[in-house]
C-alpha cells in the first residue's frame, strides 16, 4: 500500500490521551499488514515534549503553531489537510473522542472524502483497508471497505489495549510547518466539571441506571440498592439528558471513566459510548429485559428480567445478609 499509515495523536490539556496509544497499537498492526511505515502526527503549541511519548511509531510529525493551543477543530483539520496533501499518507486514523471527532469530520469535509465512523477494528488487505464498524448502538457490526485516498477513519476508544501502544523507544521527530488563518469558530474557555455531590470515579460500588428505569421516581430503587451496598448511583446519557441525574453522574464517552469493584446496571443497553466508560469495572452485573441487549457481551453476569423487580429484591437480600 503506497503511503504511510498515520495516527493522529490526541493531546488533552497537556497530556497525551490514552486513546493515542490505542491508535498506535492498532496502527502498528495495520502498518505491518500494509508493509508501510507507521507515522504519528501531533499538532500543538509548545507540545513538542509530548511527541517524545510516541516512540511506538516509526516516525513522528510534529507541527507547532500558536493557533493549535486551543481545541478548535477547524485549525487542527486545516493543518492536517496541508500535511496530508504534502505527505500523501495511505490512511489516517483519528480518535473517536468528543475532542477529536470534529477534527476528523472537518478534515474529511475539507478533503471531500468520507469519514469512516464507529470503527473498532481495521486491516490492510490486498491494497485495501477493511474496517469493522459498530452500528445500531452495538447491535450490529459491518465489514466495510474504504477506497478513498486517503481514508479518514474514526477509531472507537478501546480498539486495542493502551499498554500495547506505549514504548520506551526514543521517537524520531520531524518538525513540520503549517499555516493557519483565523478560524471561523472561536474558543472562549473551558467549563470545568460541575462540583458533583459525589465523585463516582472514587466509589467501589456503583449502581448505574439507564432508560430502562423508565421514570424519575424509579430512581429510588437504585438509590436504595446503592445505599445498601455503600455506593452511589450513576447513569447513562438518556437519564442525564432527562435531568434525572446531574452531569457529574454520567458514565461514558462524554462522562466519567469508572472502574469500581462492582457495577450493577439497571436497564442499560450497552451502547459503545456507555461501555467505553465502565468496561474496566471489576465485576459487572447487567439486568435487562432484552436477552439480546449488547451489554450481555460485556457484563460478567447477566439477568434477563425487569430491573424494577430485581433491584428491590436484591436490596432486601443484601440488607438481610448484612443484618
Amino acid at each position: 500500500m503506497a503511503g504511510n499509515i498515520w495516527i493522529i495523536a490526541e493531546a488533552w490539556r497537556g497530556q497525551v490521551s490514552e486513546i493515542t496509544f490505542e491508535l498506535l497499537a492498532l496502527g502498528r498492526e495495520v502498518a505491518g499488514q500494509a508493509g508501510a511505515p507507521l507515522e504519528a502526527v501531533l499538532l500543538g503549541s509548545n507540545a513538542r515534549e509530548l511527541a517524545q511519548k510516541l516512540g511506538a511509531a516509526d516516525s513522528v510529525l510534529y507541527a507547532d503553531n500558536a493557533a493549535l493551543a486551543d481545541p478548535v477543530p477547524e485549525n487542527f483539520a486545516t493543518a492536517l489537510a496541508q500535511l496530508i496533501k504534502e505527505k500523501q499518507p495511505a490512511a489516517v486514523l483519528v480518535p473517536l473522542t468528543n475532542l477529536s471527532v470534529d477534527v476528523g469530520v472537518v478534515l474529511a469535509a475539507q478533503l471531500g472524502v468520507p469519514f469512516l465512523n464507529y470503527c473498532k477494528d481495521l486491516k490492510a488487505e490486498g491494497g485495501n483497508l477493511t474496517a469493522t464498524c459498530v452500528l445500531y448502538g452495538g447491535k450490529m457490526e459491518a465489514t466495510v471497505t474504504a477506497s478513498a485516498k486517503p481514508a479518514i477513519i474514526g477509531i472507537l476508544p478501546g480498539a486495542r489495549p493502551v499498554e500495547q501502544g506505549r514504548s520506551d523507544k526514543a521517537a524520531t521527530i520531524t518538525d513540520v510547518a503549517v499555516t493557519l488563518a483565523a478560524p471561523k469558530v472561536h474558543f472562549k474557555r473551558y467549563l470545568e466539571s460541575e462540583a458533583g455531590d459525589v465523585d463516582i470515579t472514587q466509589k467501589d460500588f456503583l449502581v448505574a441506571v439507564g432508560r430502562g428505569i423508565q421514570t424519575k421516581d424509579n430512581l429510588d430503587l437504585a438509590e436504595d440498592l446503592a445505599a445498601t451496598l455503600g455506593g452511589a448511583v450513576c447513569g447513562s446519557r438518556p437519564v442525564i439528558d432527562q435531568g434525572w441525574l446531574g452531569l457529574s453522574r454520567q458514565v461514558g464517552k462524554s462522562g466519567m471513566l469508572v472502574k469500581p469493584k462492582l457495577y450493577v446496571m439497571l436497564g442499560i443497553s450497552g451502547a459503545p459510548e456507555h461501555v467505553e466508560g465502565m468496561k474496566g469495572s471489576q465485576c459487572i452485573i447487567a439486568v435487562n429485559t432484552d436477552a439480546a441487549a449488547p451489554i450481555f457481551n460485556v457484563a460478567h453476569y447477566g439477568v434477563v428480567g425487569d430491573a424494577l423487580e430485581v433491584a428491590p429484591a436484591l436490596t432486601e437480600k443484601i440488607k438481610a445478609r448484612k443484618g
Binding site: 488533552w12 477543530p73 468528543n98 475532542l99 471527532v101 470534529d102 469530520v105 472537518v106 474529511a108 469535509a109 471531500g112 472524502v113 468520507p114 469512516l116 465512523n117 464507529y118 445500531y136 448502538g137 452495538g138 447491535k139 450490529m140 457490526e141 459491518a142 465489514t143 471497505t145 474504504a146 471561523k184 469558530v185 472561536h186 474558543f187 472562549k188 474557555r189 473551558y190 467549563l191 460500588f205 446519557r237 438518556p238 439528558d241 435531568g243 452531569l247 462524554s254 462522562g255 466519567m256 471513566l257 447487567a286 457481551n297 460485556v298 457484563a299 453476569y301 447477566g302 439477568v303 434477563v304 428480567g305 423487580e309 428491590p312 429484591a313 436484591l314 437480600k317 443484601i318 445478609r321
Partner: protein
Amino acid sequence: MDILVLMKVVPDVVEELEVGSDGKSLDTSFLRTIINERDDHALEQALLLKDKHGGKVTLLTLDAPDIDDVLFTALAKGADRAVKICGVESVQSTQTAVKLFGETIAKTPGLLPVDLILTGVSAIDDLDGLMAAPIAQQLGWPYAGVVTQVALADKTATVIKEFAGGVRGEYEVPTPAVLGIQAAEKPPRYVPVAKVRAAMKSQTIESVDAPAVEAATTVEVQQMAKPQVTGHAEMLEGSPEEVADKICELLAKRGLL
C-alpha cells in the same frame, strides 16, 4: 431567528434486528424505525430557541418510510414547516446526501436565509461520516459539533461543546452556522397523540423533487452481522428473589458483601 433542522429515521434498536438476505444490510421486513435520538434533541434545541427569540423552525429530510410520522410529530411540537426531498432512495451515502441537501437548501424557495442549521450530532446507522460538517463546508458556513447548549445573540451563537469527564468548552460561532447537536438544554418535549393527529389534519408536508446529483461513495459494506462475541455474561436465572440470592452468593464469594 430562523432555523432549519435536518432529521432522519433510524431502526429502533429496542427491537430485535436481523440481517437481510443480501448479508449486507438489515432485514427491513419487520423493521420499526424511529427518529434518530440526537435529531430529537436538535429539534428540541431549535424549538427552545424559537420559544425565546421567535422566528421559524423548518424541518428538512430525505423521504423515508415513517418519515411523515416524525415530521407531523415535530409540527405538533411547534415546528412551522416540513419539507421532504422525494424521488431518491432513503438510504444514501453521506456524500450523496450532502449534495442532495446542499442543492435543495440553495434552490428551494424560502429555505434560506436561516440563522442556524441544526442536525443530530450523528446517527446510529452512520458509516461514512457525519453530515453537518460537509454541509457547512458546502455552504461555506462555520460548523461546531457535539453541542449541548446554544445561545443566540447578534449574529453570534455561543455554544457549549462537550468533551469528556464533565469538562466542556465554550465557543463563539458566527451565524449562519451548522451545528451538530448532542443534547438539547432540556429533554425533548412530549406531545400528546391527539395533537399529532390534529397536525396531520391541519398541516401539510411539502415535497420537493430531489435535485439531480451524481451518487458518490467510496465506502462499501461487504458484510453485516451481529457482533461476534468473545465473551458472554454468565446468565443468572430464576424469579427476582432467586436471582437476588444468586447475586448475593457471587458477591459474597468475591468478598464484596
